[in-house]
Symmetry: C2
Subunit: 304 residues, 2 copies
């Protein structure tokens, strides 16, 4: 075989490599040039667009949304459940375990939230390399006792074989001085130092868990909404630009406060649903969210 023209050579080599599936070595022998040259000719074919790659399947929507969320809101973690029916809990759990395995955080914090609780079924031992130097912290007080069903901190701690640091006190106390209790204040101080937090997000209005559980009265809810409050994390309220808002409850709430929240390196919100769109928008705008776990529908609304 004799060659007449450089461009022809590029074409022929490209056919032999991509269509016939020969190795560069074989092509080199076949046409009597060095393998190095074959390699270079293939690069050239690539650069000049003589060979093109075509991927028949488009990227899954959730993946595109994840990329866009990360980019738009400067997130470190973005997970979008492909089906609205899928449990966010599973993806939250996976993200948490992945983070633990890769980043080896010293302290992990968990909020009290029905959404965060969805992780529960996906917690099991052995998923992470046990890191006993690690501790798991409640970021808010709990409802009833230390191991109440709403708090899954202890279950996470159990799964990853870490120390569990509870906040063994109601999330809303009547007497603010209760927070002075050394057990409580120490636990809170520890909680403020977590490397990563997984929290839910509360909305205002009738769908609010706070309202439904009776922790916040209808009047107070209305009042906050009037003042421009659009949501809460860890019982801390914020306006539509994600700015912290004061509330009459602040002193009675047992949870880390705004400065602490903003200080957490990786603050991951788990939330989905139309009612969460407004608070999520605000929170993302506020800039104190560095991770989001949601579903396709919510993600789309956020990116509109």
């Amino acid at each position: 075989m004799t060659f007449k023209d450089h461009d022809d050579l590029v074409t022929i080599v490209a056919w032999m490599y991509y269509m016939d599936g020969l190795t560069q070595e074989k092509i080199a022998q076949e046409i009597g040039i060095s393998r190095t040259k074959v390699s270079r000719l293939l690069s050239e074919a690539h650069e000049k667009g003589i060979v093109q790659f075509r991927i028949t399947k488009s990227l899954p929507e959730y993946y595109l949304l994840e990329r866009e969320l990360k980019h738009r809101f400067n997130l470190k973690i973005a997970v979008v459940a492909p089906q609205n029916g899928d449990s966010l809990g599973q993806f939250a759990a996976e993200s948490l375990f992945k983070f633990i395995n890769e980043q080896k955080p010293r302290r992990v914090g968990l909020g009290w939230s029905t959404t965060v609780s969805l992780m529960a079924p996906y917690l099991s031992k052995g998923i992470v390399q046990t890191c006993q130097r690690c501790s798991v912290h409640d970021l808010t007080g709990s409802f009833i006792g230390q191991r109440n069903p709403y708090s899954i901190s202890w279950r996470v701690a159990d799964a990853i074989d870490a120390r569990y640091v509870p906040l063994p006190v109601p999330v809303l106390v009547e007497n603010p001085t209760l927070k002075e209790e050394s057990t409580i204040s120490n636990a809170l101080k520890e909680a403020e130092k977590v490397d990563i937090a997984f929290v839910g997000m509360g909305c205002m209005g009738t769908k609010s868990t706070l309202l439904k559980t009776g922790l916040v009265s209808k009047e107070m809810m209305n009042d906050l909404e009037m003042k421009g409050c659009v949501g809460e994390v860890l019982m801390r309220f914020f306006d539509k630009e994600g700015r912290p808002m004061k509330s009459p409850l602040d002193d009675r709430i047992v949870s880390i406060d705004w400065p602490a929240i903003k200080n957490i390196p990786v603050f991951v919100v788990i939330a989905a649903g139309e009612e969460k769109v407004a608070p999520l928008r605000a929170a993302l705008f506020g800039g104190w969210v560095s991770g989001l776990i949601t579903d396709v529908q919510t993600a789309k609304r956020l990116l509109e």
Copy 2:
């Protein structure tokens, strides 16, 4: 980033690899799987047709013709000049040098032919690793003297630094006993043992070089044509199925004979032009041609 489905994973990896140009290593890190797995996912993408290669330029015509000629006529060498105007001599010379470099033949034979002579401008020293153990043989007698302009054997010998074994005698002798001369008969015997031969091909009728040079009379040419002769190589005639034909000239011709021709391992014919189509067809059909150097137009006619 969390993954939901195996097929999605294949797609995503394919995009990252082929579109974003990431290495498998980087992809592996990015999505938290082993590099091995990325490699396997890419294979899968390939097998399942999720990724496809597209080459925008088609293979050059001459290359396709070369492949087809090789395949159809079981040739070891097939060269098709891309433009009809291109000199076959250049490609003949390239092929010869390539063969010499790669196969290190002991003996090279050259026919006497205007077409073979086209090599002349492309001969120069230093193109091959000098092989002094090699010799270059005339396969037919020559016209005038040892170094006549039609014979390029000595020039090839010079170029590759090889011994030149001439047939210093006219190609057509009046007295057949001249062939008994030891110089001649020895040279012929040597010539019969060449590893590769480059020869031209003669046609019948008015375009025949034999006729034009007056070596063969018009009457004899007509007579041979009547008997079914379609062409000649080295002054040996053959019919339309490439079978050797006797002619009254046979005894007076100084060239290797049919058994010797058929015995040459690589017998390369250099010929192009409409008048050569019939003889080439016959010769290829006859099966004693193992190499062909021609042009696009002739190649197409041969493959019709």
